[in-house]
Symmetry: C2
Subunit: 431 residues, 2 copies
């Protein structure tokens, strides 16, 4: 089989005509599907509806520490919620603070308070001439939005299947004291589904940052979001807090996690894990910022899942739903695009995304073509700081929300758009 690059102009023109016809047919189907974000499916949400039976009008509303969760009090989370989330993050419970419904909000608050009040007594970042963050790319658009919003300069660092390019991370972080942070999704990364190797985590832990207030923003969003049940088919990440402690950098990490993709998106429980010194500073801010987070929802979650084992059992049910979806997409990509030279993709074992690399300069056009035919993908470029993918090639595929049938149709359309745009690009290059 020839790659598309090996086709003659005539062959390309013939192929184009054929693809255009198929595309018009696709458009006629009146598809209307939003695959722009990594959303749980209705079936996943239905699976957790029992959580609403956990609390009723007769329920005991007293926490294990004797707190009436319906009233004011308890700034940093119920002890039972700390235990559950700590186990998820593989850290001790006293290294955890429970927040509200969204870990993104914790990250925003962490950056915002660093801007106005500094990190652990350091100069407020807002008083500095330049503040920079490293951004492994492709990455999560909402991370980049936060740093962009605060005027923080973002430096892209290429991702590899082992994690960010650590030679580059080390050399930048250790030389430039205006680099204050790095955005990381260490497990089943967004969008590639890559998991940081042990060596990567150890190199992170051993960093000697020029800035004393440098922090790793460790967004462990997919800690338990495996696609496969067998342990050997599940990715693992070295626990970063203890690695940092061992390396003499105990305060260098903020780790974030939530049940947004375990229970409900936007109505789960979010948490931060960090050193006690960091947490003490965070608590001081919390005292000003809030009267406390929703303890009733914390109690509801703990009474439902019981503990981390309960979460793991629940996530196996998610996996059973999600695995076929990922496989549907991957099979179609393999069948239609393997050997064509017009696309590469990742094969994640967990998380919420598949990352697709088109030929250079084709991603925006592919996404536009899909949208024209009724399928909205994440905007091309979104996976890069400032929304600018320098190669215009990365596309994030989010297979979780559609039904398997919808997903099969959407993937068929996607593959078609990849082919059509690639043919157009090749013809354009021929002049």
């Amino acid at each position: 089989m020839k790659t598309y690059q090996e086709l003659s102009k005539e062959e390309l023109l013939a192929l184009k005509a054929e693809l255009e016809k198929a595309y018009e047919e696709e458009k006629g189907k009146g598809l209307k599907l939003d695959m722009s974000r990594g959303k749980p499916s209705v079936a996943q949400l239905d699976m957790v509806m029992d959580i609403f039976d956990v609390l009723n009008s007769d329920s005991d509303m007293i926490s294990m520490e004797g707190v009436d969760v319906r009233n004011y009090g308890v700034l940093d989370g119920l002890m039972e919620a700390k235990h559950m989330m700590a186990d998820m993050m593989e850290v001790p419970a006293d290294h955890v603070i429970i927040y509200g419904n969204a870990s993104l909000n914790i990250m925003y608050d962490a950056v915002s308070s660093a801007m106005t009040h500094g990190v652990m007594g350091g100069t407020p970042w807002g008083k500095l001439d330049r503040v920079k963050f490293l951004c492994p790319v492709p990455g999560y658009d909402r991370h980049f939005s936060i740093t962009e919003y605060f005027g923080i300069e973002m430096i892209p660092v290429p991702m590899t299947p082992e994690g960010p390019d650590m030679d580059m991370v080390e050399s930048l972080v250790e030389q430039d004291d205006s680099i204050k942070g790095i955005w990381c999704v260490p497990k089943y990364s967004n969008p590639q589904g890559y998991t940081y190797s042990d060596e990567t985590v150890r190199r992170f832990a051993r960093l000697k940052p020029a800035a004393g207030d440098f922090r790793i923003f460790w967004d462990n969003a997919y800690a338990v979001h495996h696609l496969y049940d067998e342990t050997e088919q599940q990715d693992k990440v070295l626990e970063i807090l203890s690695e940092c402690e061992k390396a003499g950098n105990p305060d260098m990490v903020y780790e974030f996690a939530s049940t947004s993709k375990v229970s409900f998106s936007g109505a789960g429980v979010a948490a931060i894990a960090s050193s006690k010194r960091n947490l003490d500073c965070i608590r001081k801010t919390l005292t000003i910022q809030t009267i406390g987070y929703d303890k009733i929802n914390q109690l509801r979650h703990v009474r439902y899942f019981k503990n981390f084992d309960g979460i793991k059992a629940h996530m196996r049910k998610h996996a059973a739903l999600m695995r076929p979806k990922f496989e549907t997409v991957l099979r179609a990509l393999e069948r239609e695009l393997a050997g064509t030279g017009i696309g590469q993709w990742t094969n994640p074992r967990g998380g919420y995304f598949i990352s697709f690399e088109s030929m250079e300069g084709c991603a925006k056009a592919i996404v536009a073509k899909c949208r024209e035919a009724g399928v909205t993908l994440t905007g091309a470029g979104a996976t890069y700081p400032y929304g600018k993918d320098p190669r215009d090639s990365n596309i994030r595929i989010a297979p979780t929300y559609p039904t398997p049938e919808e997903l099969a149709m959407a993937t068929e359309l996607f593959v078609l758009c990849v082919k059509l745009v690639s043919v157009e690009k090749l013809l354009e290059q021929m002049g």
Copy 2:
């Protein structure tokens, strides 16, 4: 009856001996009561337990606009929640954004984002040499904590039974462009239970601030927290948004409200009301800050209360519980302290507090004496910026949390401590 000031030294010494004996007896009772914050009582919380039966595993989780509340989406609140909270604030629903579980957090975010990003395109407050807030005193300590935290200079403005001293407010706000805000609790103010008069509200609305980004922080925390059911016994506040609009100042107010003292403290629904232009700016920040607030809890609240009428009906049940508590305190104060010249207090018709004014220089000692005998009151000074009551005379009494029996004992102790400390002060003054 003589006032304490009219007593001779011998009379005071005799009284002191008698009071000291009584105080020792009180200490012996082993009271242990925390009245430091305005907390709903257990009975109030029990009244709303049915809210947990509203959602169960079979519930329809789709909002009136067709949104699955269990998934991502909807940044600024469910339409039905907007309607309910808008009615509470007497504004149109499109002037409302629903947040998370605490209005304090909205206020913090409003100040924080003004510091880093300015108000509606203005210079970030953090870039200015001086930023000042007016603080009606006595007032709410957590308001003052927010402005103190951000290094905002606080200028106390005396409260009157009609609201803040508006001559002073006008003259300061209209001359000094570094004054960017004022903290207001317009109805049943914290701690005095005063309600702003129509004239006060109109003078607020007609302000001509020197600073274009001056905002009134209108914390309508006790909008529906009446002690009496008859309309003529309930305080009313002119609706500030429309007054500001009429006066040509449509963007001058942020209004805050929540169900923290309607449903659950820390697990209710909070909201902001403001002009559409302000809300558009706030939404831009929210897009960065969060993936959205807890829509399930919003739905739970609306399905339970149905609408604002449901909230009003529920609050009449609160009133029935709270009225006797306020009356217990007020009766004891009247019986024991009227005509003594050693204390004055407010007679609120709603809200969560009674404000007590001791003789100058006695508040801290009274609070300390109460604590020594087992009753923790709000720290003296807390009702003033920086925790400094210049006269050391204001004490906030929070009668809502204790049972009626506990409250009777606590008030007895309080009155005793007021007498004892006053006698000591008068003797000290005699030398």
